[in-house]
Symmetry: C2
Subunit: 302 residues, 2 copies
């Protein structure tokens, strides 16, 4: 049983990619789209990110059996309030946000009585907005579904099928565990990348122009994720505070040990640590989660 009519609220990188992917992978399914920003709606019509782009959120969700909220976490409550009056009573509400506990709580509160099944496709690029999406974004990526207690099993399976139709692999887990997993695989890496890029921009002894010129020594790898959408990421850190602070403190402890090793000239400790980390990359590449070519296959090495 597939969804017949899917409403996409928020037409940025993820919402737009879902619309394009549904057109490719689920012909026969009708998509409607809405975004609060009229400029985004105009661009979404030009790119045909959904079959119908509505100027009113109620029009977008009316008659939909699946509603996907693709807005920053901090905008979830307002998005829910804007659609609640027009939702079909038996529709499934889901989302794509990167912190599941807070979103589950907000949506449960804002949409009482509706079937809410949060989800998180672990996919994206550093680009955002209605021009950023593409139909293959979810291919071979994981999507984590976090059904709240008491969720209807048939509806959960329908949502799992939906994501698999778009090329994703699906795992279910509870919201709190999701938030801890993503803190380490996504939130802390973004926090560190944003911070080091900020640090490098403000040095007295090294100019910004030097940082840019010599970035191929490793720094440039951090700038990609530090170019991600600021609003989305602010909301992630505001809404997954406990898990992020917990992981950050673990990282800071490890970094302090590394600092001591450098200070003490402890080459053995460094070599041991640096030797263990290759295995993780090999596993990521073996699992199809990264490009096996050197330097991610960047074009300059072809």
């Amino acid at each position: 049983m597939t969804f017949k009519r899917i409403a996409i609220i928020g037409l940025g990188l993820i919402g737009g990619s879902i619309g394009l992917a549904v057109r490719d992978d689920l012909p026969g399914t009708v998509t409607t789209g809405y975004d609060t920003d009229p400029k985004v709606r105009t661009r979404a019509r030009e790119r045909q990110l959904a079959d119908v782009i509505c100027d009113d959120p109620g029009d977008a969700v009316r008659g939909a059996d699946l509603v996907i909220l693709c807005v920053p976490i901090g905008a979830m409550r307002a998005a829910a309030a804007a659609i609640v009056a027009d939702l079909s009573p038996d529709c499934v509400i889901t989302d794509v946000g990167s912190s599941k506990r807070s979103i589950t709580d907000v949506l449960t509160d804002a949409l009482p009585g509706f079937e809410i099944i949060p989800a998180h496709p672990v996919a994206g690029t550093e680009n955002s907005g209605p021009d950023a999406g593409f139909s293959t974004l979810f291919h071979q990526r994981w999507c984590i579904v976090t059904p709240p207690e008491g969720a209807a099993q048939a509806k959960v399976m329908q949502l799992v099928d939906f994501w698999e139709s778009l090329g994703a692999m699906v795992e279910t887990m509870d919201a709190d565990h999701h938030d801890r997993v993503l803190a380490v695989t996504s939130h802390i890496p973004h926090l560190i990348a944003y911070t080091i890029v900020g640090t490098a921009s403000d040095l007295e002894q090294v100019t910004r122009s030097e940082v840019i010129k010599y970035s191929a020594g490793g720094f440039r790898d951090f700038t990609r994720i530090a170019a991600s959408d600021p609003t989305m990421w602010r909301d992630v850190f505001l809404n997954n505070k406990d898990a992020v602070l917990d992981m950050l403190d673990t990282f800071l402890t490890d970094l302090a040990l590394m600092r001591e090793a450098i200070k003490a000239g402890d080459g053995q400790m460094m070599h041991d640590t640096f030797s263990r980390t290759r295995a993780i990359r090999r596993s990521i590449v073996a699992l199809g989660q990264d490009d096996p070519r050197p330097d991610f296959g960047r074009s300059d090495h072809k």
Copy 2:
């Protein structure tokens, strides 16, 4: 005036790439190669990383007018000692190491009276060894030359010309400034990447298998540089201690501020920081120092 005979000591990623690049870009120049590891020499012969692969370091450098030391920093002194008796008195000695003050001091001490002009091509991949090199590695990458006081200007220009022949852009600066610049553009990024990949491997609440599966959320970007050669990087941190510790402390101060912002729920501070970092990436891409395609053009997004 170009070099006629170039000896490459150490046939890993950089040494091998130099050999292959000279064959492509400087026909007529003879290359000789040596590596302390007999298995590397065998593989170097198979891949023809140099015109002649010698089993003795003295044979490799005899008659060479340019000798390039492509060994880990900690192996520089032994490499210099192994060739000093066979060097031509007017040859230029250079290297490719990532920390210039310590290498300058070691080579000046080990090769008294010779023309030593250290250099550092800011290029590489996460791969190492005799299979890792390729002839276009230095294209559109910067090479930093750090002539000691009193270096013969004509010889410096000859070395600059050499690197430009291989497709690099060349900048000269003093060794201490190089070490500060590279601390931020290369050494600290590697240190952070090695540390966070180590942290993520050892968590109690999140399994290694989960870290690998959901790495597309950002973590995988860090694993690339954390897969770099452990010996090379141990030596970098042992030999650029002061600049690395200095930059690390600046980063730690900024990260502590970010931690406080998350703890206090200071969304404005986060949004301000996250908004500033996009500009740096745009400049890096505009300067041809990174791939403009989303996700570095990783193959799965084509």
